[in-house]
């Protein structure tokens, strides 16, 4: 049942999501009633908290196919050029429209995707990116504490340690499980604080 569900869930979009949802519900009900044990497992799958699944490799479609490979890899733009508040805020920051337009007023202005950005910028519309590395709202992850160097009491981590080799990704995908156990493992290894209040408040 689990496998069935996974197969169905991770499949490409050959059927509509509603249909798939109903199919899944029907299947679940069917299997649940037929096979007690795997039905229980299924219930477990559905009702346990979200982070029982690691989502590694999650690779959503973004409004425009921004390639980190070109920007961060080929062109070697530092991460913090765009994600500018990583060193001073909890949030690393998503680059604003004017950051994009800073270069793309001149560069590749004829690309249809750049045109889309330009149009949005001119219309005062922000880009709506889909979050890839998304922590639950009850987790307070301070980018600055992880990115800052040792002299500032930070961990001095490279972005890639959690986000994966973004500079090699055409489409960004989730690089690490981002589950609590994964956080805790690293915190244990590095003798970082382990009290609950470090992240949850």
């Amino acid at each position: 049942m689990l496998i069935l569900n996974r197969l169905l869930s991770s499949g490409q979009s050959f059927i509509s999501s509603t249909a798939k949802k109903w199919l899944r519900i029907t299947l679940t009900v069917l299997v649940f009633s037929c096979l007690g044990n795997s039905g229980t497992a299924n219930a477990w799958w559905f009702w346990t908290p979200g982070d029982t699944v690691d989502n590694v490799g999650f690779k959503p479609e973004q409004p425009i196919p921004f390639s980190h490979k070109i920007h961060a890899g080929d062109r070697k733009i530092p991460c913090e050029y765009c994600h500018s508040s990583a060193r001073r805020s909890f949030s690393s920051g998503i680059p604003s429209g004017n950051t994009c337009m800073g270069c793309h007023k001149i560069i590749k202005t004829d690309s249809p995707h750049i045109k889309k950005i330009t149009a949005a910028y001119d219309n005062n519309q922000p880009m709506e990116w889909v979050k890839v590395h998304d922590l639950p709202d009850f987790v307070r992850f301070a980018h600055k504490r992880h990115v800052q160097g040792k002299e500032q009491g930070g961990a001095g981590l490279a972005c890639q340690e959690c986000h994966g080799k973004v500079e090699e990704m055409d489409v960004v995908e989730q690089g690490a499980p981002l589950q609590m156990g994964w956080c805790i493992g690293c915190h244990k290894d590095r003798k970082a604080p382990l009290d609950c209040l470090t992240c949850h408040y």
């Binding site: 996974r6 959503p60 920051g93 604003s96 519309q125 880009m127 930070g154």
Partner: protein, 1099 residues
């Protein structure tokens, strides 16, 4: 371990960072409260002490200029996705980024992700110096009352999330009151009007602003226009005068009205006696005795925060002295609760008390110019004085003794309450005379140097009543006289006769029902402005957020109306007008070497500027002839007092759930009105708690439930104002409680012409119905549990010694290694001597920590959500009990009973001494709440709705959430966290700078807001920190912690919160040995369950 036993005689410094203030010198005691002003003036520019801590809105929000906001042009930042979800909320027009807004999209591209997909939406144009997650602070001035307290507003992503008192501001000194804290709820209130409208029969048709200007501008052309507004000490009145002049009127067409008539009565009394309109500026630090004549200066005075700060410095151990406060009053005010001697006098007899005191002072040959006048007055009122001692029930010896003390040491007399009787102004006159006799002026009260200014002109109301019919157009701005004036005055009929009524309110108000045009105006946090609360001292107001609704600043509307008529004032907007006005300020503070623009920026960064004005001491006039005592002073029988509610005010606060939910200071009743009656009187009349009574006066009647309130005079019948808004008017909390003003007659005070709200003869009868009042505290009797609150007489405290540290408790378990290693151990100390139960801590906590308001129905079930609870305990005689306030928050026990019982480790011990609550781990067994001996945990019984207009009261909570604190879902336990988000921020900052957190770097919301400085927070491992010193003080004890000196350790929970026992001049009651079984009469007054009648009081 032996600790230093002597009393800490120097009051530790306030912890907020202190920097030099131009015009105000600093002392080691913190900011000099309007102290000597002759010091050199610094140039208040270029030196910006704290980097970007304070910045003006225009630096980061360049688009806030009024042209943009007027035309509602496309903003730079646009409303982003998820808007439909948030469109219903108060913040649908936010012009800042909405990063991380939840969009529960079941996207087909990622169906294996078992969580809702979220969008990351950046700015289109990122403002310089704004980063997501980094808060920006703005200095401004609170607009909730006319006191003009300085505030700093913390904004995150362009949204204001918390208001603090401006630490440098001499009036607020880092604190605010509860009302100021709740200001954010006013800003984001879901009930605010979204568009201007014209009345069309019973409905209101909304229009675009440009159309409104066009139509209204033409309509008022050539008409006789008046403006009726609330009080302000700032430039606003001048501006309105200018507008009226342009429209063909004059300053006499501007009417100001404040329900708090104390401003006008005090000011008028000084005008009568000294010929100058002013409020004296008190300096209580030098005083040793204060006598209150029915005063409530800590709660609803002329500047509560400033007075509370003052009082905290007076009523504390100060070089071996401890100020003594003597109060004569008929109701039980929170100020009276702090009195060392409290005498209960009949309602409206304060003036008799003043006369008797005057008599004693005359007999003691007091100095001052007033003695001769006083002697004449005493002689003229001999008949009242003869019967006076019996009338007020206080012996002559008391008055003689009081007079002696007043004369012996620096002292002052403060008079007057907002339960305003016909002798109110005369009472102030008497107080002025007494103050002069005891030499208070120039020593403890200032009217010649930095006197305080009244926001209102005293005779505006009767002037308007007589002239209203002659106006064609009247603008009502930010005032709601239909509600805040007694109905019997006929104000409603008067307004109905006016051809064109324009109501300009930031919140819907009853006056809207009578208005032809309704214009939503900006909240004070969205407005430009200034206040001039103290002569020569200006406090600036700047917008901290773009208008969250489609509202306009009231002053700008007038500029537009004038523009339509081609009569423009030479200003683009009110901001420009202020910039023009403030040029005088630059001259006043004598700022040299800077350009004006820099000066203004510096003022906005700091929030205020000025130089105290001085003038020659005014000379006294002969007033004895005009001194008269109205007959209500000697009336007998039950009499009504309808004071302003300390939090709801005249009804302005009623729409803010936080203020409703804090509950009354003495009774803890929330979301309601009640009639307070002495428990013995109630018992005699056969009334029980929650009996719905019919209250009748000559003017009217109403039904309201009874709450027997200890400490009231047996003849006093108290119903607080503030509630009782009409349901129909769209006022946010319509239908809650009753408005006692229907009971008040038509009479106005003879001198200042404000409505009288006290002294009416009243008849009570039972309707037979029961109405349950939502009182949060069920029992006010501490009984024999005397270790909970420790009290000391002055003599005791002087010899108080403690030989053993509070933390020296034998323990079976070894010390925890992590605790030993940690450099921090967060602790709190609460000085019960100082706490006056004002509830500001509860409000600040609610705002900081996203605490929902539960509403009356849930409070009846005990399900309020306050993280900090204010326990009130009464001891002694029910007629005149001793009152104790005890803020009770999570004690952050080191041996926490709650932690051990949690089956899922949702709550655990932190090496820094915190009791960590992990919401996402909680499954809601609630055992922790049961196991907590302090009962400070709160459970989310329901899903709380934020920013949604629900059917229930609690579903109308404005959505002003702190992004740094998790919003708790249903089924989760929560509690005080010591504002751990602030601790973490402070630690991060300290680490970035390679140092430890210093004392004062981090304060919890309650410690920061406390107007009485009762709460101290800091690192217990730093022996020099204020909190560590207070914990080592002999007066400190742990709640339920026994007495380590006697080898008693109580529950051995080892809290990190310690309390400092109460010092009082009088012999403290309720301090016997624990377990002796003392019986206190108050027990019967507040039966734990059922509706039992209050027991007759005993010994």
């Amino acid at each position: 371990m032996t600790t230093e036993n002597s009393i800490d005689t120097t009051e530790p410094n306030r912890q907020t960072p202190i920097t030099a203030i131009p015009g105000f010198t600093m002392t080691d005691r913190g900011p000099e409260i309007f102290g000597p002003v002759d010091g050199p003036l610094e140039t208040p520019v270029k030196v910006i002490e704290k980097g970007h801590l304070y910045m003006s809105a225009e630096e980061v929000m360049p688009n806030i200029d009024s042209d943009h906001s007027r035309r509602d042009s496309a903003s730079d930042f646009t409303v982003s996705a998820g808007a439909e979800a948030l469109a219903k909320t108060a913040v649908d027009r936010r012009d800042f980024l909405r990063l991380f807004s939840a969009a529960a999209v079941a996207s087909s591209a990622a169906a294996c992700v078992r969580r809702p997909l979220e969008k990351a939406i950046p700015y289109v144009n990122q403002p310089v110096d704004q980063a997501v997650g980094v808060a920006t602070h703005y200095a401004s001035t609170c607009g909730e009352c006319a006191s003009g307290c300085g505030i700093t507003v913390k904004t995150s992503s362009g949204l204001p999330i918390k208001i603090e008192g401006n630490a440098e501001h001499p009036l607020s000194q880092g604190s605010t009151c509860a009302v100021g804290q709740a200001s954010l709820q006013g800003l984001f209130h879901p009930d605010r009007r979204t568009a201007p409208g014209f009345r069309n029969g019973d409905t209101i048709s909304t229009y675009a602003w440009d159309d409104v200007y066009e139509v209204l501008g033409k309509q008022i052309t050539g008409k006789k226009v008046a403006i009726f507004t609330n009080g302000s000490t700032g430039s606003r009145n001048d501006f309105f005068t200018d507008v009226l002049t342009k429209l063909g009127g004059s300053t006499s067409d501007l009417y100001t009205y404040e329900s708090n008539s104390l401003y006008s009565s005090v000011s008028e009394a000084h005008k009568i006696v000294f010929g100058v309109e002013c409020l004296p500026r008190p300096d209580m630090r030098v005083a040793q005795v204060i006598v209150g004549l029915g005063t409530d200066f800590l709660d609803v005075g002329t500047s509560p925060v400033f007075y509370a700060k003052n009082f905290a410095n007076f009523h504390t151990m100060n070089s071996g002295n401890f100020g003594k406060f003597i109060q004569f009053e008929s109701m039980m005010t929170q100020t009276g609760a702090k009195a060392d001697e409290r005498y209960v006098v009949p309602p409206s007899s304060e003036i008799v008390v003043a006369l008797l005191l005057m008599k004693s002072l005359v007999e003691k040959n007091a100095g001052g110019h007033a003695t001769a006048q006083a002697a004449k007055i005493v002689a003229a009122n001999a008949s009242i004085i003869t019967g006076g001692y019996d009338l007020v029930g206080v012996t002559k010896e008391v008055f003689d003794h009081t007079a002696e003390q007043l004369l012996k040491s620096p002292s002052m007399v403060l008079a007057g309450n907002t339960g305003f009787d016909e002798n109110a102004t005369m009472l102030q006159v008497a107080a002025v005379l007494i103050n002069d006799m005891i030499g208070a002026y120039g020593k403890t009260l200032y009217i010649d140097r930095g006197w305080m200014r009244s926001p209102v002109r005293s005779d505006d109301l009767p002037r308007f009543m007589t002239k209203a019919a002659s106006y064609d157009v009247v603008f009502f701005i930010d005032t709601n006289p239909v509600f805040s004036l007694p109905a019997s005055l006929g104000f409603v009929d008067l307004v109905k006769k006016i051809p064109l009524v324009v109501s300009m309110q930031s919140m819907p108000a009853e006056i809207d029902d009578l208005a032809h045009v309704i214009l939503p105006i900006n909240h004070s946090l969205e407005s430009w402005g200034d206040e001039h609360p103290v002569a020569g001292f200006w406090s600036a107001r700047q917008p901290v957020v773009r208008p969250v609704k489609d509202s306009r600043q009231a002053e700008d509307i007038f500029l537009w109306l004038l523009a339509i008529q081609k009569k423009s004032l030479p200003y683009a907007d009110y901001h420009a007008y202020l910039l023009d006005k403030w040029k005088a300020l630059m001259v006043l503070v004598d700022a040299k070497g800077v350009d004006y623009e820099t000066f203004v920026k510096a003022v906005l960064r700091r929030g205020f500027a000025g130089k105290l004005e001085t003038r020659p001491a005014p000379s006294m006039k002969e007033v004895s002839a005009s001194f008269k005592v109205g007959e209500s002073a000697t009336r007998k029988g039950l009499r009504l007092i309808a004071p302003l509610d300390p939090r709801l005010g005249d009804g302005r606060g009623a729409d803010k759930p936080i203020l409703q939910e804090i509950g009354d200071g003495m009774t803890t009743i929330a979301w309601d009105s009640w009639v307070g009656l002495n428990p013995n009187t109630a018992a005699k009349m056969g009334f029980k708690r929650n009996d719905l009574l019919l209250v009748e006066t000559a003017a009217g009647s109403l039904k309201v439930a009874l709450y027997p309130s200890p400490g009231l005079h047996p003849d006093a019948v108290v119903i607080n104002r503030g509630n009782g808004h009409a349901i129909t008017s769209g006022v946010a909390q319509g239908g809650v409680g009753v408005n006692p003003l229907v009971l008040c007659g038509t009479s106005l005070d003879a001198e200042i012409k404000t409505p009288i709200t006290a002294g009416f003869e009243v008849k009570l009868s039972r309707t037979g119905e029961i109405y349950h009042l939502a009182a949060m505290q069920k029992s006010h009797d501490i009984g024999n549990r005397t270790s909970i609150v420790k009290k000391y007489s002055l003599e005791e405290v002087k010899n108080l010694k403690r030989n053993r540290s509070l933390d020296d408790v034998p323990d079976l378990y070894p010390k925890l290694a992590a605790d030993e290693v940690s450099q921090y151990k967060w602790g709190m100390s609460v000085d019960l001597t100082k706490c006056s139960g004002c509830g500001a801590c509860m409000a600040a906590c609610a705002v900081e920590n996203n605490i929902p308001q539960a509403g009356r129905e849930q409070i009846l079930l005990g399900r309020e959500m306050h993280w900090v609870r204010l326990d009130r305990y009464f001891a002694g005689d029910l007629d005149n009990p001793q009152v104790t306030f005890q803020p009770m928050m999570c004690q952050q026990c080191n041996h926490a009973p709650c932690e051990a019982v949690c089956p899922v480790i949702a709550t655990s011990h932190d090496p820094e001494g915190l009791n960590a609550m992990t919401y996402n781990r909680c499954i809601g067994t609630r055992y922790c709440a049961n196991a907590c001996p302090y009962k400070v945990r709160r459970f989310n019984w329901w899903t709380h709705k934020w920013g949604v207009m629900g059917d229930r009261q609690q579903d109308r909570m404005p959505r002003a959430l702190n992004p740094e604190v998790t919003v708790r879902t249903r089924g989760v336990m929560e509690k005080c966290t010591f504002c751990v988000q602030r601790i973490r921020q402070a630690k991060y900052t300290a680490k970035e700078q390679g140092r430890l957190v210093r004392d004062g770097d981090v304060m919890t919301a309650c410690a920061q807001v406390c107007p009485s400085d009762a709460i101290t927070f800091g690192n217990l491992k730093d022996p020099g920190s204020r909190v560590a010193r207070e914990r080592a003080d002999a007066r400190s004890y742990l709640a339920l912690g026994g007495d380590p000196d006697k080898n008693e350790f109580g529950l051995k929970t080892l809290p990190n919160v310690s309390y400092m026992g109460i010092i009082a001049h009088r012999e403290p009651l309720g301090t016997g040995e624990e377990g002796e079984g003392q019986h206190h009469p108050a027990e019967g007054g507040h039966p734990a369950a059922g509706e039992a009648a209050p027991a007759a009081h005993g010994g």
